[in-house]
Structure formats: C-alpha cells, structure tokens
Amino acid sequence: MNPIRKKRIYSILFVFLFSVSGISLILYSLNSNLDYFFTPTELKDRNIPADKRIKVGGMVLSGSVERISSSISFVITDYENSIKVEYEGIVPDLFKEDSGVVVLGNLRDKILFAEEVLAKHDENYMPPNIEINDDN
C-alpha cells in the first residue's frame, strides 16, 4: 500500500474511533443521569434504588398538607394510588391542595424526599399521564 493511502486510512480510523468513543461517553453519562417520571400508580410495583432521582407527578391530596417549622409534607395522588412527600423549603406560589404538582427527589422507605417541587404556572395545568373528566 502506498504511504499516502496508508496515512489516510489511519487518520480515518482515528477519527472514527475518536468519535465513537466520544459519543459513547456522552450516551453513557446521559443514561446514568436520566430522571424518570412516574405517577403514583406506576411507582407502586417498582423497586427504585434510593440513590436514583425520580420525578413524580400528580395532584396534591386535599387535607394532606402538614407543615412543621420550615418543612412540609403532603401526599401526591392520581386518585388510585398515592405517595407521601417530604420537603424542606418554600413551595411554589401555585402549590395548593387539589392542584397539579411535580416533585423531583429520591425515594426511601416509600417516602419521596424532595429536592424540588414544581407547580406549573398555569391554572389549567394537569400533570402528564393523568386524565380526569369532571363531567363523568
């Protein structure tokens, strides 16, 4: 093989290996940093390790909100199943009972320890995967 062609093949091979390893590194870190979204029902039969961040969406069960000093606990429900949430800090302005909420946090002993509580800035907002028809 002539040296120029040989050199060219090497450089193509190098670029190829370089990009493949780069892309796999990126995909790997993507996969290990995903936050899965669940409704309380979807969460019921799943075993989620405590170090895995998850998002849980649903409605705040009325009468479930309890505040002790600066921490707050409440229950997220999809009207079939529910899960208890513990949070330290100020909940968003639109957080209220019977309205939609999405919580990011870690699950330990069936309690979701929240890192972040989001209430969508829209009075008609419904968390994903929940459909409620008021008329029936």
């Binding site: 780069g22 892309i23 990126i26 995909l27 870190s29 993507l30 940093n33 995903l34 936050d35 899965y36 979204f37 669940f38 961040r53 998002k55 505040r67 000093s69 600066s70 921490s71 330290e88 800090g89 100020i90 909940v91 302005d93 639109l94 990011l104 969508k120 800035h121 009075e123 994903p128 995967n129």
Partner: protein, 631 residues
Amino acid sequence: MIIEISHFLSVLATGLFLLVGYFSILTPSSNSSYISNLIVRTYSHGFFFLLSSFLIYVWLAITDNFSVQYIANHSNTALPIFYKISSIWSAHEGSMFLWIVFLSLWGFLFNIRVKNNEVLKPKTMGVISFILVGFLIFLLATSNPFETILPIPPLNGADINPVLQDPALAIHPPTLYLGYVGFVIPFASAIAFLLYGDSKINWEALVKTWSVSAWVFLTVGITLGSWWAYYELGWGGYWFWDPVENVALMPWLAATAFIHSLGVSIKSSQLRIWTILLSILVFSLSLFGAFIVRSGIIDSVHAFANDPDRGIYLLGFIGLIVFTSVFLFILRLSSIQSLSRIKKFSKQSFISINNILFGALIFSVMLGVTYPLIYEFLFDQKISVGAPFYNAIFIPIVVLAAIFLFFSVDSKWSRSINFKFISAPISFSILLSLAFTIFVMQYFESQSISILASIFAGSLIVFRYIYEIINFIFSKKFINPFSVIAHMSLGLLLISISFNSLLSTERALSINLNTTESYKDLKISFKDIGVENNANYDSIKATFLVEDQTGRTFNLKPEKRKYFTRGQITTETAIHITFLRDIYITIGDQLDDGSWIVNIQINYLIRWIWLSALLMGLAGVILVFSNRVKT
C-alpha cells in the same frame, strides 16, 4: 380600520419579498445590474411596508385598541405605555411578528451597507426574502396577530401576565431575537456562495462583522434572561438547564465555533467547508429554538400555548430550509477546496480542536433536549434530563477547551515553528494557577475535583492573558484586544461559576414577627409584615433587618403579590447586592403557629457571572467597531 391597513401592509410585504426571492434566485440573469437594482429596491420597499405594519401595530397597542384580539388578550388600559408596547412580544403571535420584523431589519441593513457590485448580494437578499416569506405565511396563516373582535370589542384588556410585568421584558426578548435572526446573514451568504459555485469568492470576509454583531446580541440576550430569571422566579440560580435555555445555548455554542472557524477561513482559506457547515448549523439551531418554544412539545417556563398546527408548519418549513441547504452543500462540496493543510500547533490547529469540543457540547445539549421526546416515543416512559447530565458533560469538556486555549496563546497563524510547551509565560501562569487552586482547596476545604479543575483552568487563562497585557504595556508586544477580553472573560466566568457553586448556600427558616434568627454570619430580624393595596395587585410585604458579620445592617422587603385580573400569585424577591455576594430572601406561607417561612440564599459571585458574559459581549462590540474603522 387601521388594523386592516396594518394587516394589508404585512401581506403586501410578503408579496414583495416573494418577488425578490423569485428574481434573485430563480431567474438566470440575477447579476445584471438592472435586476440587481430591482432586487435592492423591492426589498427595501418590502421592509418599509413590514416596518410600517409593525409600527401601526405598536400604535394600536399604545392606544388600547381592543378590537384587536391579541392586544385585548395581552394588554390593559391600566398599564403604562412602556408595558403596552412590550406586551406585544409577551406572547406567541406578537413575538413572532417582532421576530420577523427583526429578520427583515438585518436583511435591510445588509441591503444598504453592502455595495451593489458585490456578487453575492442579490442571491443573499433572495435567500433572506424566501425565509421571510416562509415565516410571514406562518404568521398570517397560523398565528395571525391582526385578528379582530367584532362587532363589539371588550372595554378592557385581559392584562399582561404578572410574571412578565418587569422592565426586563422590554429588553430581554428583543435582544435575544436580534441575536437569533442575525445569523440569517452568514447563512444566506453561505447559501448564495454555494448557489454561485465560484470558490474564489471570499464570502467569509463579507459576513464577519455581521456574524460577530449577531453573536453579541445573542450573548447579551442570554445573559439578560439569566439575570431576569434569577430575581423574578424566586428560585435564585442563574441557569436551570431548562429546555428553552438549552435551545438558546446551542446556537450560541455553534455561533462561537462559527466565528472562530470563520476567522481561520478569512485568514488562510482553510476550514472553508467546515465554516459553511457551521453557518448552516447556527441558523438551523436558531430556527430549531423557535420550533421548540412555539410548538409546545416540551414543558418549560417559557413554552407558549400548545398548537399542533404551528408545530407542524414550523417543522416542515425548517426541515425544508435545512434539507435544501445540506443538499446544496453536498452538491458543491467538491468545488470548495481548502488551499493548504493545517500545520501542527498553528493557531488553526487549536481552533480546529476548539471546534471539535464545541461540536461535542452542541451534540450533548441536543441530545438532552430531544432524548426525552425520543425515549417517550420508543418506550412510552416519561423521562427528563437535568443538571447532573449537563454538568457531567460540560465541566470536563470546558476545562479541556480552556487548557487548549491556554496553550494556543503562544501559537502563530499557519506556523508550527517556535511552539514550546515550556516557556516563561506558561510556567508563570501554571505556577500561579496551581498556587491559587491549592489555596482554594485548603482555605475552603474543597475536595470537589470538578470545582478545583474549573478554577485551575479559569485562572490559567486569566494569568496567561495578564502576562500578555503586561508584555503589551512594557514591551509593546502586539495583542488583539477582542481576543484578550473575550478569553479573559471566559476565564473569569469559569472562576465565578466555580466559586458560586462552591460557596453559595440556602436555607428555609420559620420565623416569628419581632424575633431574630441567625443563618451563617447573618442575623435576620423579622420587623414587620402587612398588606399593601396597589393599582392592580394586593401585596403582603415583609420587612427584615439583616446584619452581617461586619456589623453592617440593611432592610430586605420580600413580597407576595396577588394580581386582580388573573388572580395570579407572584413572589417578589428582595436582594441585597454586595461586591462578592447577594443576600436573597423570598417569603413563603404563614404556618398555623403564626410564624412565616422564609427562604434565605447567599449567592457568591453571581454578579461576576453576568459581568463575565457581558464582557464577552463587549469584546464583540470592540471587534465590530475596529473592523468598521479599518474598512
């Protein structure tokens, strides 16, 4: 009646832009002076019609013409004129209108500043016009801001969203839009170059100033958005990796890579293929941003109302633009040749590496934005990609890029000679940076490798350029002020971000009226709380007297507001700004025992983050003006 005139002028402008596009691209003799004069004039007329249409619209908003549905939905007689005007771009239709007017404005400026005998001018104007036509049809057909409520208009408007009632609304969206659409100039010129097919034409030099100007607007626009979100939303923090932030970051990264690559192509006719590809990428990513925000396919604080028709039209049109450009690019690939190979350790080689790293960043952000959509489609499982992913990618790549930048300062254009890995300035900067990093490690007891690495990399750049500046002052060694300021700002940005994440803390406290709580070095006394009635909202206003370790005291007055027109509750943060840190307080709900929940953040060097970004923008301004003086 006036609204119909405004509507008609926009339709007329669409027609004229269509003519420009037709004459400049689809007729064979577009370079005859007769046709090219026709193109220049027709475009200007189209622009003036569109501008008049927009100005009439602004007038209608100022005069509270609620027979216009959009104005009725987003403005109110009680608003000051300032907000009546800004309300135009507070929602989808009006902001799309502004976006298009800005697009045509860039085209108009190009039209009057570039001489008529420039061979690429007619076709560039043609490409811009076709893009304008596509977006004007989108505006008029799917998002018409001129729709009226007849026969009886409402007496008052529905008011602007309270979260948006802020002076920043007047500047953040317009600046950002000017940045996004400004990249139509390099894009259209690159397409004109490809259509023309003569590789001897230097299209890169033609678009340099234009590209850097657009980059300045994008940089400043993103910074303003970060600053606004910080004080408005009450979460603190300067960047949330929200999808809408990400779709602004991607064109910025691509544009930054593009400007570097453009420099190489102008200087030595190398990387030309790559530069063209980047010009297509930057503009496509700008359009992709418009699609993501306006189609409603993602959840975000910015997302406009969901409408599938808009999404489909936009995706189709953007797809058409990207597909056509890439097809044309592949068709002409063989005729564009770089003159020579890039030498090892030359400035060009370092810029190539910078481009590869930026490419990896863009790819990662794109993946982060689109992966949840793909994943849900494939596995029917909702996921989201948050800060941990972006940190895992950005920190190592940016640190690596900073180290390459550090070594590139010594490199020369087109030459690999005289390049040394060990020299006085290099050892000077490495030693000082190492000392600084070790000091941080000891003094702040930090073990975080990513923070220490970023501080090290940031200080490498800063010290290296300080050395250059000293050299410039004492031995008149040439420096490029644009490059020095832009790169030093990057170093400063890295350092500020690292210290911010190293030192900033927050804590929620429950506190009773007339009591004092301490947090860190602060003593916070709850002095007063009361209800205030205002013109369009009621507010609960608290007063805190805060004392820091030096004994200095100041008042902080956070609020919670309830707006009448929409019943919306907003949080108004109270921030005390000092040289090194912000004391940031928001107030939450009252507990049953009468105490209030208060969130306190101490944010270090957060102002420095925005300052670094603005300095980067300033560097761009310097480049634009120094270029103008030369020509």
